[in-house]
């Protein structure tokens, strides 16, 4: 394959294989030493070699074995170079021994899940867990992650380094927790995956490459978790939730690039395959008989899809799901969505009463959806002046220009 097309194809295969294997290899390299940065160094060299070699010589039959062999050489070089720095040398020696054992064995054990539990450990700062997962499991660089999470690249880089140091210094173990500990610990892993998806979701137009990719990467992480923990209902529920949301991406903007709310979306633009997969996951989850927040949120998505597809109003069911969800999570964000559903069922005044219950929460003052929801409900009750003020704040707090324009149009449609 020496055509340019062939090169491009080999390159994209190389990227796909390297990407698929990246997390598995970092996890394998770092599992015993807990030295994530050393594993990343060794692997980045192997990764770069693969991207240079494979498009020219074709992809090897066993790409992971190939990458591991190159990584091993790199580890041995590092080991020799650092022989006198005892602690580092010891860690690298353990790593090199592990690589010898793995080279003799075609199957590399998949320790990604154990690594994800280490990254989302309660001892790691909650806000850095999602970025850390994206970096160590998927190999995203700090700059990309920082831009997606609206943080300065320097600060993000420092926080990632600090988190990796913490894993090593505090000896956070690379292991899947025991049965009784699992639900709580899994929650932090799922929370980090969800946070990654949510950052990607805020760029529906796909104009911001870092963010668009983030949603895909989060789905990839969600799949890893469900493959490795196929009987955890909440893991299945989370994947169902993010697939449902992702399925509607093509319908969230019209041809002019304007924002289209769910109630006005064209269901024929939704990704049927993704919706089917999500529904299937949700069925599998509910068969396991243990309800949780992600399953409930996925069930809500499912109910919205059902309503839009059949035209049959199911707001009573939706409100009930929100009631249960609010009882479990109790977040003001859920209360806002619950209030909007109540308004559909019992009218805008009932919705406003419901939103009033959480209005005192200080976190809502700078939360755009709160003001947008308030504005919409106020407009429906005819309180146009108050609605205008609420829209004003929603507009001022919105960072997506498309949504901002949508809110401005709603605001100017109010009677003077």
């Amino acid at each position: 394959m020496h055509s340019r097309e062939g090169d491009a194809q080999a390159r994209s295969t190389a990227e796909a294989v390297a990407r698929r294997s990246y997390g598995k290899l970092v996890a394998f390299l770092a599992a015993r030493t807990r030295d994530v940065p050393a594993a990343e160094d060794a692997l980045s060299e192997a990764f770069a070699s693969a991207l240079a070699d494979w498009p020219v010589n074709g992809c090897p039959a066993n790409p992971e074995g190939w990458l591991l062999t190159v990584a091993r050489r790199k580890v041995i070089d590092m080991y020799r170079g650092r022989r006198r720095a005892e602690i580092a040398g010891e860690r690298l020696q353990i790593m090199a021994e592990g690589l010898d054992a793995a080279a003799a064995n075609a199957d590399i054990p998949d320790q990604r899940l154990a690594m994800m539990f280490a990254c989302a450990h309660p001892a790691i700062d909650a806000t850095i867990r999602a970025p850390l997962l994206l970096q160590v499991v998927l190999g995203l660089d700090a700059k990309t992650i920082a831009s997606a999470f609206l943080t300065s690249p320097v600060a993000m880089s420092k926080r990632l380094v600090r988190a990796k140091d913490k894993i090593r210094q505090a000896a956070i173990s690379f292991s899947v927790p025991e049965r009784e500990e699992l639900p709580a610990r899994l929650d932090t892993v799922l929370g980090a995956v969800y946070a990654a998806f949510a950052e990607g979701w805020t760029n529906p137009g796909g104009t911001d490459v870092a963010r668009r990719d983030l949603a895909e990467e989060a789905i990839f992480l969600g799949r890893v978790v469900t493959e490795l923990l196929p009987s955890e209902p909440e893991a299945l529920g989370l994947l169902a939730l993010i697939l449902h949301a992702e399925a509607r991406r093509p319908a969230r903007r019209n041809q002019q690039g304007d924002y289209v709310p769910l109630a006005e979306q064209n269901p024929s633009l939704w990704d049927v395959q993704m919706i089917d997969e999500a529904e299937d996951l949700l069925r599998r989850a509910s068969a396991l008989g243990c309800i949780g927040r992600y399953q409930l949120e996925a069930a809500l998505q499912s109910a919205h899809v059902f309503r839009r597809r059949t035209g049959r109003a199911n707001w009573a069911e939706v409100v009930q799901l929100y009631d249960t969800l609010f009882a479990i999570v109790g977040s003001p964000v859920i209360a806002i969505n619950r209030a909007l559903a109540i308004a559909e069922l019992h009218g805008a005044n009932a919705g406003l009463d419901a939103i009033q219950e959480v209005a005192a929460d200080a976190r809502l003052a700078e939360y755009q959806p709160y003001w947008a929801a308030r504005a919409e409900l106020l407009a429906k009750t005819g309180a146009h002046n108050e609605a205008r003020q609420a829209y004003e704040l929603a507009i001022g707090l919105e960072s997506d220009p498309v949504v901002r324009r949508f809110l401005q149009q709603r605001q100017s449609a109010l009677k003077q």
Binding site: L150, T151, S152, A155, A365, E366, Y391, E392, L393, A394, I395, G396, L397, E398, S399, D400, P401, R404, R405, Q408
Partner: protein
């Protein structure tokens, strides 16, 4: 911690916009300013006249030089600023992202040198 958000825009862009879009733009800035004030982080803000109104002054060898025009000739110029007071850089960045300029130009986030703090420690 105070940060100056400097709004860099393509100067010629504004006059090319249709009137409806200009009005929408002005309204978006008004809403943004209002949101900053409601959040209690707004310390000051102004829109600047175009650089055609700018004058650049230097004193070299005891002689003042007055030049018509901006300090740097460029398509992109500072069109205004917001001075905000927020706990940290991440908070400043999230406010910068909400600024309407961020979606058509660029918002530079610069921490303000805390002169008052050093003055009081010297006293």
């Amino acid at each position: 911690m105070q940060y100056l958000l400097m709004l860099h825009v393509e100067e010629a862009g504004w006059s090319k916009l249709p009137k409806a879009q200009q009005e929408e733009g002005v309204a978006a800035y008004a809403a943004y300013t209002e949101a900053l004030k409601k959040a209690g982080v707004h310390k000051g803000s102004n829109r600047l006249q175009p650089t055609s109104a700018a004058t650049t002054v230097r004193v070299a060898n005891g002689k003042s030089q007055v030049q018509d025009g901006p300090y740097i000739e460029s398509k992109e110029q500072i069109a205004g600023y917001y001075l905000i007071d927020v706990p940290d850089l991440d908070a400043a960045i999230s406010w910068a992202a909400r600024c309407p300029t961020a979606s058509h130009g660029a918002v530079e986030v610069r921490p303000v040198w805390a002169m008052q703090a050093s003055a009081s420690s010297a006293a």
